[in-house]
Structures are given as C-alpha cells and as structure tokens.
Symmetry: C2
Subunit: 254 residues, 2 copies
Amino acid sequence: MNVVLLGSGNVATHLALALKAIGENITQVFSPNLINAKTLAKKVGSEAINSFSEVERNADLYIISVKDDAIAEVAGNLKGIDGLVVHTSGTTDLKVLSSTVKHAGVFYPLQTFSKSKDVDFKMIPLCLEATDDMQLEILKQLANRLSTKVYQLDGEKRKVLHLAAVFACNFTNHLYALANDLLTNRDLDFDIIRPLIAETADKVMVDLPRNVQTGPALRNDESTINKHLTMLADLPELQEIYITLSNSIKLVHK
Amino acid sequence: MNVVLLGSGNVATHLALALKAIGENITQVFSPNLINAKTLAKKVGSEAINSFSEVERNADLYIISVKDDAIAEVAGNLKGIDGLVVHTSGTTDLKVLSSTVKHAGVFYPLQTFSKSKDVDFKMIPLCLEATDDMQLEILKQLANRLSTKVYQLDGEKRKVLHLAAVFACNFTNHLYALANDLLTNRDLDFDIIRPLIAETADKVMVDLPRNVQTGPALRNDESTINKHLTMLADLPELQEIYITLSNSIKLVHK
C-alpha cells in the first residue's frame, strides 16, 4: 500500500517505523513544521512536505496522527480523496472524518510512546473502526500484520478505553513521579523503588488488580495512614491525593 | 544460622522460602493460628508453634514478621534472649524492639508479596538497620546472600521509602483496578490494557517518570479532560480522583 502519514509526533513516528518494517511504502510525511517532517521522512525513506497542496491524491491510505483538535482541519484538506483516511485518536469520533472524506476509519494504538524508547509493535493493541465493512477489512488486514492484538471497537468503547488508559498509564506514571519526589527529598534514589514498580505491574499480568491489592488502606490500618498523613503535612497536594486514593481503596474493598 | 520466624503472612512466607533456599535453618514458625504456622512450617521443614512459651531461647536470629501493631507484643515475649531480633516493617521504629531486647534490627524487604505469586528474591531491595555495627554486619552478610540490592537505611529514610511505596505500588494497583472497573462496565476485557500497564512500568526502568509523562493533563488538553469528566458524571469518586491527579500533573509540569 502507498501510505501518506500526516503528523510527526510520537504515535506517527512509531507507527511509521512499524509500517516500514512490514514493507509498506510511506510515500509522504506531512507536518506544518518541515524540520519535523524531514526528521521522520528520513527514517522511513519518504518525501517530507509541509503544505496540504503537496499531498498526493492517489495514495491507498492516509493516516492522520496529529493532536485531537487538529484532526478536523487536516481532514478538511483531504476532501475528494478516494483512499481510506484514518485517525489514530482514542477520543475523536469517526464522524469527524466521515463527514468530510469518502472512506474513513480509526486506527488507534493503545500504548504510551516515547520517541526515545522502542516498543514491540506486535504487542500493541490496535483498535479499529471504519465507515463500512470493506474499509474495516483493509484496516484489519494491515493491523494483523503489525500486531497480534487487534480489536474492532465502536467509538463509545474506544473512548472508555482511552479514559481507562489515563488511569492505568498517565495517572500511574504521575504516582511514580510523586514517589520519586518523596525519595529525592530524602536523598534516596529512584532505583530503590524500581523493582517494586516492576512487580506491581507484573502481578496484574496474570491476575486482576482487585485480587492483589495491598497496603495500609486495604488493611484499614489507620495508624499507618495517620503516620503517612503527618509525614505529608507540608505537602498538601500529596496529602489530598493520599486521602482521595485511600478512601477509594476502602470504598472498593469495604 | 538457626532462625525462628514469628509470623506466617505474605512477607513471612516469601522470606522463609528465600532463607531456606540459601540453606538457612528455620527451626520454628510461630503464629497464634496453629494452622497458619503449620502451613508455612511444612514448606520450610520446621516446627510449628502457637505459644510464646514454646519459642526456643537460643536461636541466632528471630524474625518478627507480623502486623505493625503486634510487633511490640511479640517482642515483649522475647525479653532476655541473646540472639538478634529483627522486624520486617517499613514504618515501625527500631526502638520498638531495642527498648525490649538486647540486640535489635530491621530487615525490611521493599516488595509487594502475594502468596500465589513467586518473586525473584535476588531483585528485592532489602533495607537494613541495627542497634550496633556488629548486628548490622550479621544482617548485611545474610541480606547479601539473599539479594543483590542491599541498603542500610535509618528509620526516617525507611519510613519515607514506605510512604513512596504506597504511592508507587498500592495506589498504582488501585488505579489499575479502577481502569478495570471502567472497562468491564462496557464489556471490555482487562487484557486489552495489560500491554499499556507493562510498558508504563517498563519506561521508568530506564528513565525518570517525570521525563516520560504523557496524557491530556500534561498537554493541558482541556477538551479531552472535560470529555472524560462528563463520562465520569455518574461516578463522583472517580471524577474526584481524575481531577485531583490531573491538577497535580499540571502543577508539577507547569
């Protein structure tokens, strides 16, 4: 397939590399910032462009991988194109595309991407949606070559998944960051807590999180909870997080 | 060494198995519940007891691995003993032991233990403290045979570490559980989000969490945040957690 990639961020970059690895031909990389377009285009052997007028009209697949609030604008510049146009957003309705282009779909990789870290694309859940069965079939065939975890999800489910991901990934990482702040304030290295973080994630690979919950809130250990709140007396934001999450644990496990 | 283990919970169990694996002799397992004592004693080939009067007085090491608020009581029954007495608690002062027994220490494994899941003890940080250098040396030599990650920490640092662990482990696992609740409410399987959880933890094995934060709060993406809050309208506890953690992310990254 000839693929035009619109975007040059983390998702666009990892997706482009994965597509290239399975032999797909990324003909163009578009970014309003030509330097960004060139950086990615160079990696995957394609043309870098920064003007919508340069977008070729006869590609098979157009992947819009930009910030959510820019998707509609990019799609507006693809009017009249015959190829399949997809976005990679967890929260954006399919109709943002389908109201503008003929063949529309969603190709949402559920993963947290950093430019500096490789990921095994085969393990990334790919969540698909399309305006009709034929387009869905095209996406499925492509997705199955990229990953072993392909899901067909409607927009409502995809949004719930994205929300769950904020809890399980974004908020979780922030808790790691707060833990690191507590440690470095007392000259303790983050390294000391890395095995615990790894094991906490590893435990839920084979079990459900509710079954493996531990800690003072689960045990209703008010003595330890109060000691911790005293230690956080000078950090009211952390105290609030501690109370909010402890109460939630108690509520779920009461 | 002859070791008496007082306790039969998750920490006691994993520690007993690790001690047996390096050839230490666990002579007795004490628990007020004899069935629990027997279950663990059988695994490590030792005697099960449920009365303090049966505790042998000449062991080299006594490990108290019980709930924090029961440590003082157990120690009270070890008065006059010559061997080293340690507890395995992250939050309990050394002096809870040293005010009662001659030789006291702390042997705190920083990990989340489930009875159903094996852990590689070599990777568990062991945090040591003792009343004097000779006892500390005994603990260090033992710890170095059990784990590659041995730390000498005073009580204040150990307590901070325990608090950080609540954020990085207990609260994190609860976020996984909340994510699972959101998914199952919409007939989505937890399996779909497991690769994301694994990668989120994996990213901070080589980088600091602040450097790899992602998500709508980091991007100040109020449009997505508001969509999420609307989706959580019927779940006020989750809405509160969402707001509290998003605000904290914004504050840290402003």
